[in-house]
């Protein structure tokens, strides 16, 4: 079971136990996803990276995976106020599976293995809701949600603010690098 600790670092399963890590550190430590499958996690990381460069490294896929495992009370995902009822896992799972299905039917490859041109054209169609017969959540919403998750880990952390030269000036400092 994953949980968010009282101080906010995320608890990730590593080996036989749990450790408190930021998603970036969890990614570096080779933490495996617990809710999403390895393929879903890879697709999410690849899509996040295409939308927001740097977000793969910042741990977008492990952040979302960890957040899908916590209770609604602890949930920080933006999806909670975008008109989708909890639990949110089916939203991500069906969206990731649909984007992979499209990648395979168009190009015979998983989304994460598409060339730049192939991936960009697929994302163009996704964001403009042009993927006919798409079997996931509303296309524009899926794009918006993943883009925001990727922005959260890439730009919404203390490190992300520093990257943009924005003073963080916290009243209460988030206890983890992504918080």
């Amino acid at each position: 079971m994953l949980y968010a600790s009282g101080i906010g670092l995320l608890s990730f399963a590593l080996g036989d136990g749990h450790v408190l890590l930021s998603p970036r550190a969890a990614r570096a430590a080779g933490v495996k996803p617990r809710v999403l499958s390895a393929r879903e996690e890879e697709t999410l990381a690849a899509l996040g990276e295409r939308l927001v460069p740097g977000s793969r490294e910042s741990g977008v896929s492990l952040y979302v995976d960890q957040q899908l495992a916590v209770s609604l009370e602890d949930c920080m995902l933006m999806i909670q106020y975008l008109g989708v009822d909890p639990p949110f896992t089916p939203f991500y799972r069906t969206g990731l599976s649909a984007i992979n299905a499209w990648a395979e039917s168009r190009h015979g490859e998983k989304f994460s293995e598409l060339s730049d041109t192939q991936a960009e054209s697929l994302i163009d169609d996704l964001s403009n809701e042009k993927l006919e017969g798409w079997e996931g959540p509303p296309q524009g919403l899926f794009y918006f949600v993943v883009r925001n998750d990727a922005c959260d880990v890439q730009y919404g952390t203390q490190e992300g603010f520093a990257r943009l030269n924005v003073p963080y000036a916290a009243h209460i400092v988030p206890p983890s690098e992504w918080g």
Binding site: G8, R50, L51, V52, P53, L72, E73, D74, C75, M76, L77, M78, Q80, Y81, G83, D85, P86, E120, I123, S127, Y143, F144, R147, N148, C151, D152, Y155, G156, G160, F161, L164, N165, V166, P167, Y168, A169, A170, H171, I172, V173, P174, P175, W178, G179
Partner: protein, 527 residues
């Protein structure tokens, strides 16, 4: 802390903006007050400065089904736990104007309030002293009569100054934004330091809300507050003409009753209506307070009109309060100003809000079309050069915009609420007129890129409206339910019209007026 077994003077449902104010006033007047809050205890230590952590403060209770073309955005617009939405609200506190109370009589549309501005004015004046408002009443040339603010205005900085030039070059005025934020030490609360973390909760107490103002007073005066206690129903005595208490689910899942002489419902606009509908009994077959059939009806939500720009000057948009620096209510009193475009109503501009890079109201989501390297470039420029303001646009009350119960139930068997909402063509046209004006102002600043975001819902009002009698409304001007006068409603659910201003100052003024009646105190001297 255990619940009382005997009857108390007042039981309050909900511990947010309205509930905490009732608790403070009534306990200070010697009443034995018990407050029940469905969500958890929230402490200032939990107000972590982060747009991610901020989302932990949003509504986490029973889901609300939203239907209609302009949904109300319930989860974003509602709070959960001690302090409710007040603890992550932005403290923009303008007054409603005189014509907001008489929309039906003056214009033949919408509804009238059973009171006018002059009835509420002394309470606005009282509340602004109690809670500590900052502003410049003289500069607000459009402001209805009232005492000056007890504190000088919020800081203006680069972003505000850039946008002000845009207004001024079109011959329009701006005034400092009236805010429930301390600009100097006020009743022991520190001055704001303009870091823009208000959306995540202000842990210093600079921003007036339930945790910084009313709960400390209420608890000191002996009120008791019980988090994690969800009220499921209001009880009435055998004839149904008096409330006798509430049924509540305790943290261990036990159902119990809290009996009281007076029941105050302050569980937010949607939940107040839901609880009243779910309290149907043989005496109140369609819900308590529903003799008129208006219970649930006339839900309104301001139509937000967010305008953005990139300006050559350095604007440092992350600096300041989340609510903004300036206000413009240029056309506020002219509800028919844009009638040729089919528009009706009032709007105001909240100008130069502090922005963070992420979050729904942040820089990145303002341009959802950008991604990859284009997004990266945009973000690097935005953090130094962005400007923004938001129009708060009136939503005409329509009977078909309503809270109803649906076939699903929560964990305690209470039917879930559905909220249907479609803005009138007049309100949609007013939103468009506001957007056109906003874009023009931003172009006039010399910005090199200007754009607007789609319409978004902001604040939730109506559903348990006040009126002159049980034939047209749920409650009277004091929030007392017509058929059950010792059942008092608090919150923006009472508003028959939304106006084009943020609702919380008016919520507070109404609570203050209701408390005067409940305690038999004389109205403030300026009445």
């Amino acid at each position: 802390m255990t619940l009382p077994k005997d009857k108390v003077d007042v039981v309050i449902v909900g511990s947010g903006s309205a509930g905490s104010h009732f608790a403070a006033r009534l306990s200070k007047a010697g009443r034995r007050v018990v407050a029940l809050e469905a969500g958890p205890d929230i402490r200032t230590e939990q107000m972590v400065s982060s747009m991610l952590w901020a989302r932990r403060l949003k509504w986490k209770g029973a889901p609300v089904l939203e239907t209609g073309p302009q949904p109300i955005g319930y989860v974003f617009n509602a709070g959960w736990g001690v302090g409710g939405a007040s603890i992550h609200h932005y403290a923009v506190w303008p007054r409603m104007h005189e014509n907001d109370f008489r929309v039906r009589s003056l214009y033949g549309r919408g509804l009238d309030w059973p009171i006018g501005y002059s009835d509420l004015q002394p309470y606005y004046d009282r509340v602004q002293k109690e809670c500590g408002l900052s502003g410049d009443s003289k500069a607000e040339v459009w402001r209805p009569a009232g005492e000056p603010y007890p504190m000088g205005p919020v800081a203006s900085a680069n972003q505000g100054r850039v946008v002000r030039k845009g207004f001024e070059s079109l011959g329009m005025k701006v005034a400092p934004l009236p805010m429930a934020i301390a600009t100097k030490t006020y009743k022991g609360r520190p001055s704001c330091i303009w870091d823009g973390w208000c959306d995540a909760g202000c842990p210093t107490g600079a921003l007036a809300n339930a945790l910084s103002v009313h709960w400390p007073e209420a608890l000191a005066a002996g009120a008791t507050l019980h988090p994690n206690h969800q009220v499921v129903r209001v009880l009435t005595e055998s004839k149904g003409t008096r409330a006798s208490g509430v049924e509540v689910v305790t943290p261990d899942g036990t159902r119990t009753l809290v009996m009281a002489d007076v029941v105050v419902l302050a569980a937010n606009t949607v939940q107040n209506a839901r609880i009243l509908l779910a309290s149907a009994s043989p005496e109140h077959p369609h819900g308590v307070g529903n003799a008129s059939g208006t219970l649930g009806q006339f839900v309104t939500t301001h139509l937000a009109a967010p305008i953005f720009g990139l300006h050559p000057d350095k604007t440092n948009p992350w600096f300041g309060a989340f609510g903004g620096q300036f206000l413009n209510q240029e056309h506020y009193d002219e509800k028919e100003n844009f009638s040729e475009q089919g528009a009706f109503g009032s709007y105001q501009w909240m100008i130069a809000q502090a922005m963070k890079p992420n979050g729904l109201l942040g820089m990145a989501p303002s341009r959802p079309d950008l991604r990859g390297s284009a997004l990266k470039r945009f973000m690097e420029r935005s953090t130094e050069h962005m400007i923004t303001m938001t129009g708060v646009v009136e939503d005409l009350p329509l009977a078909q915009n309503r809270v109803t119960l649906n076939g699903k139930k929560d964990d305690w068997g209470v039917p879930l609420a559905t909220v249907e909402h479609a803005s009138s063509p007049e309100s949609l046209a007013l939103w468009q007129a506001a957007v056109d004006e906003g874009l023009k102002v931003f172009r006039a600043t010399g910005a090199d890129e200007v754009w607007n975001a789609p319409r978004a819902p902001m604040h939730i009002m109506g559903g348990t409206i006040m009126g002159t009698g049980p034939n047209n409304s749920v409650a009277d001007a004091y929030g007392a339910v017509h058929e059950v006068p010792n059942l008092i409603l608090g919150g923006a659910g009472l508003f028959p019209t939304s106006g084009g201003v943020n609702p919380t100052f008016t919520i507070q003024a109404l609570v203050s007026m209701a408390c005067d009646r409940m305690t038999g105190e004389a109205p403030p001297p300026s009445a």
